[in-house]
Amino acid sequence: MNILVCISKTPDTTAKIAFTEGNTKFDENGVQWIINPYDEWYSLVRAIEIKEKDPTTNIHLITVGGPEAEPIIRKALALGGDEAIRVNSNSNDSYVIAQQIAAIAKQGSYDLIMTGKETIDYNSACIGSMLSAILDLPYVSLANHLEVNGNTATIQREIEGGEETNEVILPMIISCQKGMAEQRIPNMRGIMAARTKPLKVVEPIATNAHTSIKEFSLPPAKTGVKLIAPDQMDELVKLLKEEAKVI
């Protein structure tokens, strides 16, 4: 089986969020970069688990980003990807990114294309759905369980207030979230092996962005907490009812 795992570079979850150049760019000063947690913990690790059961599986990684994305993709190789492709483009338009991934996907015969449920920076949750439209493939999102049997995938996906089991004939696209797999730490052997695994750099295909970011802003700070004594719960209820008007 051939799996394509989409990998995105995001700021560390504890990164300070600030902006520069008149609030038009994310301030990367001092920011630690990580593999987007949903891509790494759930999608990539589940692909590795599938390969551990069926060693004939190939795991290809793809990232759309500049040379600064290479440490991230090397880490993903160290965890267990077989080879990687970096499309040399720094777009932050989901449509452009999806087009780049689709162009690569069309060249391989992938049974499964896996993404995280969203990136933790732009939170757009667009890539999997867009890929399904461009490649005309079935799509199941927010999956927390995946089993592959022959050419059938059995997937559990989140629905409001529960879960639903889906059966899909491969090839397909799936977006992964918590529950799918457990976070792993690359071991020394993996890190050494990753140095010599193939990492191909390709130039992007020409495509027009559909959107552009005009300005970032930060939410207004809270005006300050109103403290209520532990023995004044009637007062808290009154405030929630009459002042905040939420109950």
Binding site: A125, M130, P138, I159, G161, T165, H210, T211, I213, I228
Partner: protein, 320 residues
Amino acid sequence: MVLIYIDHSEKEIKKSSHEAIFYGAAIAKQLGCSAEALILGTVNDDLTALGKLGASKVHQLNNESLNSFDAKVHASLIATAASNLNAEVIVFAHNINGKAIAPAVAVKLDAGIVTGACSLPNLQNGFEVTKTVFSGKAFANIKIETPKKVIAINQNSFGIQNYESSATIVELNIPIPAASVKVTHVNKINGEIPLTEANLVVSGGRGLKGPENWGILLDLAKALGAATACSRPVSDTDWRPHHEHVGQTGIQIAPNLYIAIGISGAIQHLAGVNRSKTIVVINKDPEAPFFKAADYGVVGDAFEVVPAFTAAILKMKHNE
């Protein structure tokens, strides 16, 4: 025309779709055009009543098979309907199914998309929509550069009012493509309020010390009619199910009221809840960072404060 997609489950229109209709109708007012809704499948709701939310027509593809969600089939039908009806703006709720299909519809229509929108478009310099980014820690104004636009509106970010109006129902006739997904099992936890749809949420952290202590939190949630949630360490140690985990790597929510019990308020947790309208923090540590993000705080032992809080709520409800 602004076309709003109506999502439904178990024959009932989702709350987030009501909000999406009201939001779409407000965009239609800005643009001086009509707001019309689109529903695939059948529901028990009275569709003419969607006029109250601002929809002048409801286009319905009346086929039971569409009650089961198939992202590929649904996206294809919505894109065809939007093209046939010549919709300029297509609005979705940024909920579970909306996330699965809105971007595919945008690709099919060659439309730019903003997901996680939290405001009406600004039309002064083209068409700009504000969305939440960095898991709720910031906002971005995104300009959509294409003639057609797709917007997925964050849940609980726009609110709802009612007009005195009713919608007309128009039957759609579009051939339905072959299914790509077979739904073999649905497991809904009955009687539980889905977290993403909840107005009120009660959430617990490690301060509660163990799963056996969750009773006081569940009692509070029951008294309020609230959904329950938890912090990441609590779900990681399986004290509570994974689907209750709110935070940067869990679910992001924006209820009217979020009550955090024994949660210190790490930056990753705040990212998932800081769009809540009102935040109440109950923690025995006065230095807990969550107090800085709270509207109301109680410094005290959860095992005493929470039952007293529950009793006060029941007393208030009894007196109503």
